[in-house]
Amino acid sequence: MTAEITYLEAIREALFEEMERDANVFMLGEDIGAYGGAFKVTDGLMAKFGEQRVIDSPISEIGIVGAAAGAAHMGMRPVVEMQFIDFIANAYDMLTNYVATARYRAFLPCPMVVRGPSGGYVRGGPFHSQNPEAGFIHTPGLKVVYPSTAEDAKGLMKSAIRDDDCVLFFEHKYLYRRIKGVMPEGDVTVPIGVARVAREGKDVSIITYAATVYKALEAAELLATEHGISVEVIDLRTLAPLDDEAIEKTVRKTNRVLVLHEDTRTGGIAGEITARINETCFEWLDAPVLRVTAHDVPLPYAPPLEDFVLPQVSDVVRAVRRLAAY
């Protein structure tokens, strides 16, 4: 009952339970059926639900995302796997031009989920490490979710499948087997659009999501014990729509904010969050909002290069100390 399961298993549990709950839910993707997916997220689904509902597709991202949209118009609830989220770029046209505009321009609902392994710190090189959320957050009509805990991964997946619009569900592959959690009893969803306080604090806030939540928590521990700085960590969980209320609340509480993400800097969501804080909470700030992000570089393969490009705990510590010193 109270056994811990991994972030990855939590996602699988959500898929199982949603397929059981609603016969309209079905899976589409490359190698997701007989093989159970490149990371085994969908392992066992085909055995349980059959080839009709767990479809091994050709290597055709445009095809499966487009087909999901059509099926969704007809009342189905497709869940499409990108073998790596990097390949969502192939379906960019379908998602941004077709899916994102469907409700607004044609009153056609697209209740579908596009999910897949995302993110770096795994020596995956430039095409198996990406965080492409910014391009989709920028597109009105899409919702974007990126959980950091096993419980949220499960609860948000359930919400994503039940949502009446298209939800892009980013799963961090560095967290897949590293992060574990105990699932709540019963059919529990986590609402889309609501952030979470991952650690309470009073001096400085770190607003972040996905794998860098753990960089923030590690830094917070260090800052507390070594520098006497109390850090609050906000895990956004959903990137579109942003939880403005949670952001404002933490700004008003600590008056010093660091926005942290693994995505590259220019055009990343940290810029958007910073702008919103400026607009709504300027008088609450005791320091400029700072960003810790990846460098603006395609993510390289060699460990010293990847580690240099991506944000690390020591960067967070440095940035928080600068904020605290204002």
Binding site: I59, N90, R123, D296, V297, F308, Q312, S314, D315, A319
Partner: protein, 363 residues
């Protein structure tokens, strides 16, 4: 037209060279497996075991001035085009002086001088790119052709379709080689296409298509050579299907649980391209056992020397990460919190679950 004992007009030296490239491919990959198990290969490891003939034979049909775009099973094609074992080893091991200086992984690199352009992971993308490469040959009246590989799986991408169609309409001097190895990761060809054979797709593009036994190195050479000659003579795009079999998993971590029992063993026993060619060399072509053994010894020595050299190289410097995104500026500046920091971590962790992941074990 080949004289007896001289298939395809290949000299005896060239006949033995085909064997050399296939043996080099296999021995080099075996060395990579050893390095992978020692965790010296940083990411995943991709094998072309059982596909050496289609890679080597097809690339052998090109001239040095021609340009080829390899895929993940085309280590042999790259070697024929002049990539060296030490480059391959350094690349897999993410060394500072690897061809991409640690930026890209496995065999994702190229050299336009030697005539090969590095692939990217998104499948199919190299087809339109090679359409453009060969379009430029045509526009400038250069006597050069291009060759691009796609897997059976990659033929399902939009990029493949758009690229081959555009090249066909423009009558680009391009050979598109479909390496039909039965699987795309775990997906059998029957779930990839209802076409009975990939050359059936050529009809739809209005181009010639020809199919051959990809485990026969001479047949792979000959069929590709015909397409290359056609392209060189102004005959435009051809589709060549080389039928082969992927005996290893998609990458080393893949335990091939989806493969029917006995299938791999059958291909290994009855249809190993290297064994088949050795039989032919020593039979019909009348080479001596010693000729073949000499090649084996040479390959072993070369791979040993390359390994020693690759192991001596170090990892890249962290700050090299910021070099070369644009021609101008030539380097990015470190972000403010890294201004005077050489490395932001104490140790470069090598995550489980990537490359080394073995849940369920090997088959």
């Amino acid at each position: 037209m080949a004289a007896a004992g001289h298939p395809s007009g290949l000299s005896r030296e060239r006949q033995l060279e085909l064997y050399y490239w296939m043996r080099l491919t296999r021995t080099l990959e075996e060395r990579l497996v050893a390095l992978y198990r020692q965790t010296k290969v940083v990411g995943g490891l991709f094998r072309s075991l059982g596909q050496e003939a289609d890679a080597v034979g097809s690339a052998f049909a090109l001239e040095r001035r021609d340009i080829l775009s390899p895929l993940i099973r085309n280590l042999g094609s790259m070697l024929v085009k002049g990539a060296t074992p030490v480059e391959i080893l350094k690349q897999y091991m993410a060394k500072a002086d690897s061809p991409t200086r640690g930026r890209e992984l496995n065999i994702h690199f190229g050299d336009t001088e030697r005539g090969f352009i590095g692939q990217i992971s998104p499948l199919g993308d190299m087809v339109p790119v090679m359409a453009g490469v060969t379009l430029s040959f045509r526009m400038r009246g250069e006597d050069r052709v291009g060759l691009v590989y796609v897997g059976d799986g990659a033929t399902s991408t939009g990029a493949f379709h758009e690229g081959i169609n555009f090249a066909a309409v423009q009558r680009c001097p391009l050979v598109v080689v479909v390496e039909n190895n039965g699987y795309a990761y775990s997906t059998p060809t029957s779930k990839q296409t209802l076409a009975k054979q990939f050359i059936d797709k050529a009809i739809g593009y209005g181009i010639p298509g020809e199919r051959a036994d990809g485990n026969d190195v001479i047949a792979s050479y000959e069929v590709t050579r015909r397409a290359v000659d056609r392209a060189r003579a102004g005959g435009g795009v051809s589709l060549v299907e080389l039928v082969t079999y992927r005996r290893k998993g998609h990458a080393e971590h893949d335990n091939q649980s989806y493969v029917p029992d006995g299938e791999i063993e059958r291909w290994e026993k009855d249809n190993d391209p290297i064994t088949r060619y050795i039989d032919r060399l020593q039979g019909e072509l009348k080479f001596k056992v010693a000729d073949v053994e000499q090649v084996d010894a040479r390959v072993r020595a070369e791979v040993d020397a390359a390994t020693d050299e690759a192991e001596r190289s170090g990892p890249p410097e962290a700050l090299d990460a910021l070099v070369g995104i644009y021609a101008d500026p030539p380097r990015e500046q470190p972000l403010w919190y890294r201004q005077d920091v050489a490395s932001a971590v104490d140790a470069h962790e090598r995550p489980e679950g990537w490359g080394t992941w073995q849940e369920g074990g090997r088959k």
